[in-house]
Amino acid sequence: MSDRADRKPETGAFFPRDRNWHAPALTPGYKTSVLRSPQKALLSLDGTISEITGPVFGHSMLGELDNDLIHNFAKPGESAIGERIIVHGRVLDERGRAVSGALLEFWQANAGGRYRHKKESYLAALDPNFGGCGRTITDEQGFYSFRTIKPGPYPWPNGVNDWRPAHIHFSVFGHGFAQRLITQMYFEGDPMIWKCPIVNTIADRRAIEQLIAPLDWANTIPMDARAYKFDIILRGRRSTLFENRMEGN
């Protein structure tokens, strides 16, 4: 709460989600969606106070290594194997305003494309020094960064020979629960992006391109880590100038 105590809280409802921009629920090319997709129309409603409000996470909850996946699971003095990278960017809303205090949580496979999970069956090796999760909170200007290794691509049971392009999962909280978002970040230049049935659940090429992080040479740290820049856009919200006042009041 104290993180943005000097800010006037906003109370406007959020811009409607552009359902043609997002993937539809039913995308048969991604087979798991077939039995997990609602088939009836969503009930549309302008946001109420139950959706325009949302939880606040303070920077004090973060541990020192939460934003360092190279070290946050590693034995002392050791580090995860793989291409060292920095992922950084800003969280903005659709109006271009910085979203401060946004909790970002991320998870990924290791450099060989293997997740640390009991249901994972890919034969690639586990890295004893890599857990695969991290988190951070954006600063007053919406900036965030974390350090990790570049995840590997991996095969998955969907089509006979489907592979996921290298990607990092992101979970994002904004200022209202209606902004809650989970997405995936891809890496510039990966030819596998366009072969992926999960990527291709999204029909609009521009929406896919917005998920691809460019190599950021300017922020690459010499002799240490390359940088990728990934900005995340959350739903904008209306000005409340003419709202929240009942007729006759």
């Binding site: 077939v34 009930l43 109420t48 139950s50 699971f73 999962h169 200022h175 978002l181």
Partner: protein, 204 residues
Amino acid sequence: MVQALDYLKETASQTAGPYVHIGLTPNFCGIGGVYDTDLGTTMVSERTLGERITVSGRVLDGTGTPLKDALVEIWQADAAGLYNSPSELRGAADPAFSGWGRCPTGGEDGAFRFETIKPGRVPFKDGRPMAPHITFWIVARGINVGLHTRMYFPDEAEANAADPLLLRVEHRHRVATLVATGSAPSYMFDIHLQGEKETVFLDI
């Protein structure tokens, strides 16, 4: 020519995938030592005001099979009907209650369970009181965009009958998909992703 509106486009959602628990509840799936505890596990402390309740349920696919790789989050008002959020301008919420919880579905039966308090009533946009409710958000492998819905209480028939959101449900038999079963203090709320009992999901 006119001036450009120049709004940005929301980052497209992608499925949380089969390993959402690695990212959001790592301790639950055996990745210990990174975080002390999984976020959102404990909602209520001794100091929290209000009537203690539990809400448990499952997320079921179109064949009625419970999902064991889903993640459910809830968001609710405190006992007095105030949200613990900077956008809450009507008063100060109970400082001992964040109003937010997170639970993976897993284990043998794929159940989720929240220990929380019964929320107070909050107003609709036009000032009418809404019936007490808890906001739900569900993500999982196979769900491309996280699903929003609400849980109402079975012992609030009068308030439910006048609730502005429930009144908007055209097919009245579907209202039941938004109302928990059981009674205080133990409520059950199954979420059906599709089929005859498909839960009413919200574009909100």
